[in-house]
Symmetry: C2
Subunit: 223 residues, 2 copies
DNA sequence: CGTTAGGTTGAAGAAGTTCAAAGAAAGTGG
DNA sequence: CCACTTTCTTTGAACTTCTTCAACCTAACG
């Protein structure tokens, strides 16, 4: 595979908006990608920066967060290798509304809006494929938004655990990607509430906390 | 303007994913649109139906709702002329997950997925324009989802009032499109809570309830 | 003018937050 | 590897917010 930037394949092929494309097209996108390195605790972008590229995490770990008027941090997400952010930046003329910083030394693949634009005018089929993916995500996000407005702490944690679980030998487990206080923040509840919900679910027999980051799911549903 | 289906212009030109297109393209889309009539209380679609078209309300009023396991109705939205639903259906192969019924005699413009597909392959520029609009909506929806998870009843109502307000002669007013019990349901709170929040905002001087459906906004912000 | 659905109000109770304190886990430097 | 420090997690208790239930009020409509 003759890509200018090897290792990038690992990026492009993992991003949902790209991985449904024909390999032929994926290679063209790989060729556009640029790799950048960030040291631990280095800022990757700040709210207000121009957002002109898609970021795909190649290695390392990234924290995305916002800061509200009272100065309180709100965790938007923790990104691990294969995760990405800014897929909408490829098509918008807006600025970042969040902050992102490297939690560890991190390698990121970048795809610039201008490069993407050029590619789209050259290969219109890609646009239609991406449109399908965006429609899917939009649909999901709208359903999610509706649900969030009416769900309680237990439902939210349950949904999170299920959505992030893997099944092996009929055993369903979830490996938590962040500390409990961050998970609480992410799920929109206090750490204390999260702790109590975990305890309640365990006492009910719905889950087993094998270790602080490893949760075994027995029978769990939400709403 | 030689469109097969006059009155359709009123539809297409109002839908955000279309109204940024060049008029030339808008006319092509109008030509695709088909008009249907529904009587009061008639179902327009049911959950599980194939969703193969975009619905744009031309006249009348439509209720979109879901039904949870306990049989309880959840109001998703009330659609008035110019509103639309199913923009994602144009690009997805999924079925409806909601119900829609006509609250009054209603005229709807339909645009079928298959017709849209044909149009997109013929005019790829349209796809890129729609992609931009979808990116914008996706971005907004994700922000919204995050916010919903952490906001309280007062913030939600405030945001709703502001988002749905019109300003005239420096006077900001919101005309409610639905009954309070429906609004409560829509905002994910009980009618009693909604009533109390309205009262509290009025006593604080933030709003004036000119009539049951007309709210004047003095100074209101959320979060 | 009476019926019915929608809206408001009070009071009790459930769900979640906050604060404070104690216990557990994870660095850090000697 | 240990002792020390720091940060995270859990727990209890008081407090806030929202829901539920029941009663009452109001407006719309045959």
């Amino acid at each position: 595979m003759n890509c200018q930037n090897c290792g990038a394949d690992l990026c492009v092929s993992r991003v949902p908006i790209f991985n449904h494309l024909d390999v032929e097209y994926q290679i063209k996108i790989m060729d556009l990608s640029v790799t950048k390195h960030y040291k631990k605790n280095e800022m990757i972008f700040n709210a207000g920066d121009v957002s002109d590229s898609l970021f795909i995490i190649n290695s390392g770990k990234v924290k995305v967060f916002s800061i509200d008027e009272s100065g309180k941090e709100h965790l938007i997400s923790i990104l691990n290798p294969g995760d990405y952010i800014g897929e909408t930046s490829l098509f918008l003329n807006e600025s970042q509304h969040h902050f992102a910083s490297a939690l560890e030394d991190t390698k990121i693949c970048l795809i610039y809006k201008s490069d993407m634009r050029r590619l789209l005018s050259e290969y219109p089929t890609i646009a239609i494929k991406i449109l399908e993916e965006f429609a899917k995500r939009l649909d999901k996000s709208q359903t999610q938004a509706k649900w969030l407005g009416t769900s309680n702490a237990t439902s939210r944690l349950s949904k999170y655990l299920i959505d992030n679980s893997t099944t092996k030998d009929g055993l369903k487990v979830t490996k938590l990607k962040m500390a409990r206080k961050d998970l609480a923040n992410y799920l929109g509840m206090s750490p204390e509430t999260l702790s109590r919900v975990f305890k309640a679910l365990e006492e009910k027999g719905s889950i087993n906390q094998k270790s602080s980051r490893l949760i075994e799911i027995n029978n769990l549903d939400y709403d």
